[in-house]
Amino acid sequence: MAEDYLLQMHGVGKSYYGTQVLKDIELALKPGEIHAIVGENGAGKSTLMNILFGMAVIHSTGGYEGEVLFAGQTADINSPQRAMELGIGMVHQEFMLLPNYTITENIKLNREVLKDNLVSRVLGEKLKSLDMQTMRADARRALDSLDMGIEEYVKVAGLPVGHMQFVEIARELDKTNIKLLVFDEPTAVLAESEAAHLLRAMERISQRGIAILFITHRLDEVMEVAHNITVLRDGRLVAQRAAADTNIYELAELMVGREVEKLSQRTDHSREDVLALRLRDFVVDMPGELVKGLDLDVRKGEILGIGGLAGQGKIGIANGVMGLYPCRGEVLVNDQPLPLNDTPASIRYKMAFLSEDRRGVGLLLDSSIEMNIIITAMQNQGQFLHQWGPISQLNSKAIRAHALKMIHDLDIRCTGPTQIVRRLSGGNQQKVCIARALALNPDVLFVSEPTRGIDVGAKRLVLETLVRLNETLGMTIVMTSSELAELRSVCDRIAIVSEGKIAGILRPDDSDVNFGLLMAGQKDRQGAASHA
């Protein structure tokens, strides 16, 4: 029985530095099967693939638990080379191609077909010349098997993105021993027609007896090509279904669903007609998180969540409003137009921002806690300064007093206000960021990924702090997060961003199906979803 399966994983798990990111994964794959793995960001998809591919991140952090069987034999995949020897190929999300080489050369790179010449007969192996003709023929065959019309002697530079993807696939197919191909979010960068073409190609490949692992979050594609589907959530295996026995709504629910715990029984004080912030046709040019003409109203006094999958543009919104990435469109703060691309102006309009990149943008890592807390307020509002005409000096006393108060109020665990921020834990660093934002006395607080890289206990503290600020100070909070559960536990409304636009705004107690569908970009089917 076991021999029927090409790949089997039993009880596979992985933890990084004591944090369990993957646990008890069971997976079985027959030759010629297309098996989809779906899940949100952080569900463990990439970790699983890294294990399968023997990536160094896995082995340099203590290896994995459980057992991987390949073709019925226990496989100890400890390096990508080993994975390739076994016949596992990977089509990467980012293209690993040399732009100035031709398609043939890219396909054959490091596996060139060689032939003897006069010199090599004398001087040996290393000086053999390339057998261009055979290489071209091989490349042609691989491309044809994908039904690709492009010429094999064209340079890769300048090819459309979709074609590059196919060159990658052709390279894997050209390997003679290929048995299993992993597609990591292959359609993420493709246009719709290209994606459809790719799905056809996948079917054709599977018909040749090659198994395919297909990682994606586009549920319609999964339903279209996959034979079997595994749903991961928070590093656990949630469900395994045959494609015939399930539907897109069930998958959406499985992908998102979890018990949502309300942090506080707060009531929504906000009113629909009193807006703190109004975005119209808002475009932000933030690489990887493009916002493409989005409309959004933020009500005064609410906690608005912004959710969605990575790369869809949710992170770009706050960065754009704060002027950290070039943006255009119309932004009204308390009905006043905000000058765009001007960070000091955004701060002047009483907005503050906790960056998603806490260590990169959010902190002066080698400066003291007190300096980190006061510097924005000092620079923009002249607080904590002695000023004599043009001459200014830091007011050490006021700084120390404020820092001590903040350390007490927010419960920042540290040795004192002069401790270097780098030495603090993630949760405490985040509290320092919050303290800095508070020093500005903002009306609107943007919080991006507030719990990223923070351990579970501290997560809750950070979220509770945000809720408290909203309730006691009436602060409007716009919280962007990849963790839907977190948004649902504190927010009044949750806007889901997909492809740079708002796909829809939901209540935190809306059904998992609705969240799942909006996140997967199934906006048009929302009506259908509410009937389901």
Partner: protein, 347 residues
């Protein structure tokens, strides 16, 4: 105990420990060879005071994020121009000193502004650009020295145009001016009070500046530009301010240096001075990203004291070769510079 040791070594820096060890070794040899230790100490103090301000010029540069200012020769050149103007106007003594500084300030500010603008265009490779800007500016000014319309016979070539290669400051009572101010002896060690006081005064001024609103913003801009942008700080502007302050300190620094040396050195003179200053602050424990006044003090002391003590010691070893003095000076000086540059590492 062992843990204690390693944490001490980490906080003090292995590089500095090695340099300190080398210094102590030199001192021991000097005593062994019965060299005049009091005299060595006196000249160490003088050299520290003379070079200190130039080393100090690195602090605003490194803090504002442009890294060790290898282009401080620009400031040195403007300082020399200021000094020439003071001589041309026949100022004497303290007037000449203060005048030289005041005359050089506008030049230093303007040049620093332009230099800062240039550095903002090459973020990430400032050190390289700075080195070459420094070299080319010194070379261009060689033409400049010939063209500048200075007429005073104290400095003009007897025949033709332009100013001489070295200009003595004796006639203007500028030579050793600060060194002799309030100086006194402890045993046979001469303490150049005025010189050291002026150096410390400059350190205090920079320290206060770094604690001002602008200084704090500059520091943030240098430490983490993305953070600074998000905090509403204009990073480019503060980098330029840092460059200007550094250039101005370079101008003041060369005037202090020249009065101690007794001569103005034009033409080739300023070519390699930035390296000495950069090496000193690096030995003091600064990295290309962080520098403090303490690094200046420690670094200037170690670097200059080693130079002063090492030369006579090296000469004892090579007693028969008269020309070895200069060669050993160059070997030791550049050796320390290389060593310091390899230790920049940091995080």
């Amino acid at each position: 105990m062992r843990k204690h040791m390693t944490s001490f070594i980490q906080s003090f820096g292995l590089a500095r420990l090695i340099i300190l060890g080398f210094f102590l070794f030199l001192c021991a040899s000097a005593i062994m060879f019965k060299l005049d230790f009091a005299e060595l100490l006196s000249s160490s103090l003088v050299r520290i005071g003379m070079n200190g301000v130039l080393v100090l010029a690195m602090v605003p540069a490194i803090s504002s994020g442009i890294g060790p200012n290898f282009g401080v020769s620009l400031g040195i050149l403007t300082g020399l121009v200021g000094a020439l103007i003071a001589i041309e106007l026949r100022l004497n003594g303290y007037m000449a000193f203060v005048g030289a500084i005041l005359f050089s300030l506008p030049f230093a500010a303007i040049v620093g502004y332009g230099y800062g603008w240039l550095l903002n265009r090459v973020k990430g490779s400032e050190m390289m650009l700075a080195t070459f800007v420094g070299f080319s500016a010194v070379s261009v000014m060689k033409i400049g020295w010939l063209l500048l319309p200075f007429k005073s016979p104290e400095m003009a070539w007897p025949i033709g145009r332009g100013v001489r290669v070295t200009i003595a400051l004796d006639n203007r009572q500028l030579s050793q001016l600060l060194n002799n101010t309030w100086s006194f002896n402890i045993g046979s060690v001469v303490i150049p009070t005025g010189l050291l006081l002026f150096f410390l005064l400059c350190c205090g001024a920079v320290w206060l500046f770094m604690r001002s609103k602008t200084g704090a913003a500059m520091y943030a801009a240098g430490d983490n530009p993305r953070f600074a942008e998000a905090a509403g700080i204009n990073v480019d502007k503060h980098r330029m301010i840092g460059t200007m302050v550094s250039t101005i300190l370079g101008a003041v620094g060369i005037i202090v240096y020249a009065q101690g040396f007794g001569f103005l050195q034009l033409y080739e003179g300023p070519m390699f001075m930035p390296f000495v200053a950069v090496a000193a602050i690096l030995i003091g424990g600064a990295s290309v990203k962080r520098a403090s006044i303490a690094h200046v003090l420690i670094g200037t002391f170690l670097f200059q004291a080693i130079l002063v003590v090492a030369m006579p010691v090296a000469n004892v070893f090579t007693a028969d070769m008269a020309s070895m003095a200069e060669i050993s000076r160059i070997i030791i000086q550049n050796g320390i510079i290389i060593y310091a540059l390899t230790q920049t590492g940091g995080e």
